[in-house]
Subunit: 136 residues, 6 copies
Amino acid sequence: MKVTVHRKAHFNAAHRLYNADWTDARNAHVFGKCANPNYHGHNYELIVAVRGEIHPETGFVMDMKVLKHLIETEIEAVFDHKNLNEEVPVFKTLNPTAENIAVVIWNILRPHIEEVLELSVTLYETPRNFVSYSGA
Amino acid sequence: MKVTVHRKAHFNAAHRLYNADWTDARNAHVFGKCANPNYHGHNYELIVAVRGEIHPETGFVMDMKVLKHLIETEIEAVFDHKNLNEEVPVFKTLNPTAENIAVVIWNILRPHIEEVLELSVTLYETPRNFVSYSGA
Amino acid sequence: MKVTVHRKAHFNAAHRLYNADWTDARNAHVFGKCANPNYHGHNYELIVAVRGEIHPETGFVMDMKVLKHLIETEIEAVFDHKNLNEEVPVFKTLNPTAENIAVVIWNILRPHIEEVLELSVTLYETPRNFVSYSGA
Amino acid sequence: MKVTVHRKAHFNAAHRLYNADWTDARNAHVFGKCANPNYHGHNYELIVAVRGEIHPETGFVMDMKVLKHLIETEIEAVFDHKNLNEEVPVFKTLNPTAENIAVVIWNILRPHIEEVLELSVTLYETPRNFVSYSGA
Amino acid sequence: MKVTVHRKAHFNAAHRLYNADWTDARNAHVFGKCANPNYHGHNYELIVAVRGEIHPETGFVMDMKVLKHLIETEIEAVFDHKNLNEEVPVFKTLNPTAENIAVVIWNILRPHIEEVLELSVTLYETPRNFVSYSGA
Amino acid sequence: MKVTVHRKAHFNAAHRLYNADWTDARNAHVFGKCANPNYHGHNYELIVAVRGEIHPETGFVMDMKVLKHLIETEIEAVFDHKNLNEEVPVFKTLNPTAENIAVVIWNILRPHIEEVLELSVTLYETPRNFVSYSGA
């Protein structure tokens, strides 16, 4: 009997879409205004979902206070009010698309959550564009 | 060819998180301000989802008017403007976490929905904390 | 390693629920005020989700600009500011319930999206009623 | 010491924008796709706001239950699941723009609310287009 | 040249509507299910708005970080996860309607904000019921 | 008899808060993480409101299609996917706080809207921080 608990968080960041192996012209052609070398930015909204059995003593799948704190220390502290391309090392060589950011967040959180629990993340780049990733 | 129909409803209730087998000190330690013996409360938002074949004559998986009425009589009438710990009998001995409330709602609704239809519920305790349960 | 990208769009349309094989009385009995022969309408909100591998060069599962344009040309151009029963031919003989509209949208989009990518659609008829369909 | 209380409601309706004194060509030119003779529709969201002194015995400016019931009987019963042009008599000769609908709603509600209370209405035609009217 | 800055916050609380000068029967008659002696609760959403000149050196009307901190220490610390009737002294004798809570919040915040700045508060008791107060 | 029409739009941009007359240390002290020299960013949501008489022939205060197009050409084309500090000339010397951006937008739009109509703008920097300006 498995239940999924979801916690919503957010961070504000600058980024640009850019493939360092390409010419500037090709970057501009493929990524359009998202390739602007001066950056643009977003209010990212993040939903972290954890699925597992309810612990009979607490009634929790995972204590939301613990999950909230984990997102603050592992994700918000690293991403909030940052330039993703310049200040988050993984994006020196990985294009910070919503897809790649979601996978990076999942990979950061996974070791901090009990192995028996399933993890998925949903990342809103805008209210109209969002992505989700469950590790497979 | 299965489609899922979703109906959103809501109820306002008071609760506290509390394990009767624990000391007050342990309840306060584990549940923090959620263990306040004077209660606090939430605007719960509930999404009930039913999945099945589209009936060829009506174009419905399940008549939303019927589903709306079912949620009103079986859930809202029981939970709305209530103290969950004091007035909903199952929570005399079961801690009314979002996880447990979602499972209780699912168990209440399941016998009222045709067996061939799959049922899942999503319960928002706040806009930032929510849970989902599909019966397994 | 599969990621799902979601794009939100919208269209405003009139419709009525109606089964041409039934008497008006039976239509009124089953569909209630939704059977009003003069029509009513909705702001439909549509979420199209596409799941697949991230392309290593772009960091995209599918270019959101392409997906946005596809929804505009294939769905919005056909459904927006239209009377679904009168002006969208498939609904001459198919009841335009949210369920059937979602299936029709999925069927329209499927051939335009690479076969290797999974497709699902979620359609909000109102903020309180919505449906989803994944092709099976 | 005046406080404003707000109550949110909704209705779904079909309409078209149309000036009967104009040719069809001019209607199409001015109103674009909103002039579609087969109608389109919206989920209208309505916020009714009432401003006045707090009654010292109840703590209410106006009982929300009374306001909710008033909106149901005077507005929702008349507008919901209707074709505004065909079934709401005032719009036989008045173009049902969001502006005009808001004024009509205000005029309907005004006599039902104590004179000493100020009234204003906000009407969302879509989440992106809305109007407000305060009677002057 | 005055600009208004708005900051959104929230707190979860239990309450009941109750006039101590009335019989229980009259309380039940006037306040309906809101008079439940076992309490119910809400996720209150609070918007605090401050209007004034933009400071030419900072570009701020009021530093949002300061406003956020003020709401945390003066409002959230006092109201969050509390039983308003039992644990917030002013509501021992004042009925905790949304109207009265909004006025109480305004009165708490007013002395902490520079006199030259105008203050108003909007309090959502539910997404469908909300009140606003500007001090006059 | 004046009605207000509102149109919602959005743009995504990078910025940093910075006063060029101050040392870096003072900028960091006053603006905190918002002073990050590598920028961060936001999904700005903009509501433009225009108040005036309803034109008796159209039923419009101002044609929403015209207002939508005006926001696209005058605001979105200039601000969307841009670095406000680097690419919008007025912010070379004016700190791009939400307050200042709102005033700049109002000043850009004012000459394009009939003088008899009142104009106000509301700018959401995040869902929790927003500002409004009406020209006085």
